[in-house]
Subunit: 330 residues, 2 copies
């Protein structure tokens, strides 16, 4: 282990002022690249490392953003995590990960941990916030930002979400325009009521029979069973909107392989998320695409903002419906 | 903001000893659930929160494990991250994420950050270690663990990987047993030479012509072009081993949709990773399945181990080849 060296030794070796050494280690301060490199070289030679943890105690800022992930396997959040981590580290901040084992019931020990690390802000991705955690954060002055594809308004908090009701309406409109008339809706638990009411509300307002709604628990097996049930009916739906692409692909498989239906012509299928495979010829799936990049940008702005400037609000970012072969009738 | 309260006030209100309060906040120490709950209740009532950052300065341990992710979008690592995060938080540790923008060239600023946070250990997932970072970590006494599906031996480091050469050989053996004779190998840059030498070595040792090898840069488009090229040849391969499932699925699409080939009978396709969709009837893909759970267990053991007990070593965990319809000739 190298012996203890301080700022002074680094400044001497680099032949710069003490202030320059300090600036070299503070992200976002003005310093020339050449000076910064000189400081870093001297620091490396001496084995000097400023202690960010000690500094965070003095400044009251840890540079750590706590991220609670409800479902780390969700493809959307893998993409979001990558973008967040890259952008935040450019700003000298880092992500400390907390997993909500059950999005509905965050273990208290995690909450305690989170506060103990003195995170500068807390970002919830696809995780519900317990009222207890919300209260703890308010007491501790830790800003909380909620990021979800879809979410209801949460009082006293900043939320960044998609436009649930509008999206539901947009999808129903597209299906009607394509000539589908007997719509069905494959939902999952904890999904947004706004999406549902937009979709079902629009269809019924246009005089269609109320879309049948099936609730599916596990992504794959549940969707397969639900698709079989829907398609076995005497008056089966001619279009199914599934609230994620995985469920939509499972529905396509069942319709094609088990019922011999031509996707698009005999059965319209719409997904949600525009996952990587949606555009592959095998699926050619019409699906709603979330504007991940602008969402992440907004979240980063919020995370880096002065907490005093941050007010409870709901930020809605609009995406697009990618219309593909799975809803083409001809 | 609540006023400053200390251990003493919590101990008084909970009517327990100071040592009991300290134990209640130290993961892994012996304390009854009832006492722990009493301490937590008193702490909540008083708004007390021990400062982990301060404690980490005293103990020299931050409770933070740095994780450098080469490719956060890789499905394998989303699964691994979830398991790691859950298990580590049970042990009172947390993951601080660092992204390697380019797995081959880790930005120096990230390295500096990482050391400044005094991470207890560093886990590299699908990321290469620059010799500079390796040196910094050695100097700082920070243990480094390398986790990859496949990797060569790295001197002076603990690695947890799959058995590259054996896997390649296992896959070639399976294809030969199924009666395939003209093998091809679709590879990606930076993948393991061991896998290749196992696959190609075994095939040639059995008197087959050396498998054609194509190198593909981008997962989807590259694989589509490569599959077209391979299948357009006069003597085209009768089996293709792709080093990830995405490439294998793209190959199946091209073979089926563009060349009208019956998968399995006319063309065998093998993937790698056993991703969620591999077992779906649409793909029915033979693929190599990594033993993620035992790998994660080994990594967690290593991360929680006393650094003095940890010696450079290579831990190889064996998976299984899932034989499905894509390599069935009949």
């Amino acid at each position: 282990m190298p012996k203890r060296v301080g700022l002074r030794e680094v400044a001497e070796l680099a032949n710069v002022s003490l202030a320059a050494v300090s600036r070299a280690y503070t992200p976002g301060t003005s310093i020339s690249e050449a000076t910064r490199e000189r400081v870093m070289q001297a620091a490396r030679k001496l084995g000097y490392r400023p202690n960010l943890l000690a500094r965070s105690l003095i400044k009251g800022k840890s540079g750590i953003i706590g991220v609670v992930m409800g479902n780390p396997r969700h493809p959307l959040f893998a993409v979001a995590l990558e973008a967040l981590s890259r952008r935040l580290s450019q700003a000298g901040k880092h992500i400390l990960i907390f997993t909500a084992e059950n999005p509905a019931h965050m273990a208290d020990v995690h909450v305690e941990d989170l506060l103990q690390y003195r995170v500068d802000a807390l970002l919830l991705m696809a995780a519900n916030l317990s009222s207890k955690l919300a209260e703890h954060c308010r007491e501790g002055g830790i800003p909380v930002i909620l990021f979800n594809r879809l979410a209801q308004k949460v009082p006293g908090m900043v939320t960044v979400t998609g436009a649930g009701r509008d999206i539901g309406q947009k999808i129903a409109t597209h299906l009607l325009q394509q000539g589908y008339r007997r719509l069905a809706y494959m939902d999952e638990p904890l999904s947004s009521r706004e999406l549902e009411s937009g979709f079902i509300g629009y269809a019924t307002s246009k005089g269609l029979p109320p879309p049948e709604r099936v609730l599916v628990h596990s992504q794959r097996e549940g969707a397969v069973v639900a698709a079989r049930t829907l398609l076995s009916q005497r008056r089966r739906p001619d279009a199914i909107f599934c609230v994620n692409d995985h469920m939509a692909m499972a529905t396509i498989e069942v319709a094609r392989d088990e019922f011999g239906l031509k996707i698009g012509r005999a059965l319209g299928v719409v997904g949600f998320d525009d996952s990587e495979q949606a555009s592959w010829p095998t699926w050619d799936l019409t699906t709603y695409s979330h504007p991940i990049d602008p969402m992440i940008e907004r979240i980063i702005d919020l995370l880096l903002q002065d907490p005093k400037e941050r007010h409870p609000s709901r930020i809605i970012v609009e995406g697009v419906l990618k219309c593909r072969g799975s809803t083409k009738r001809t």
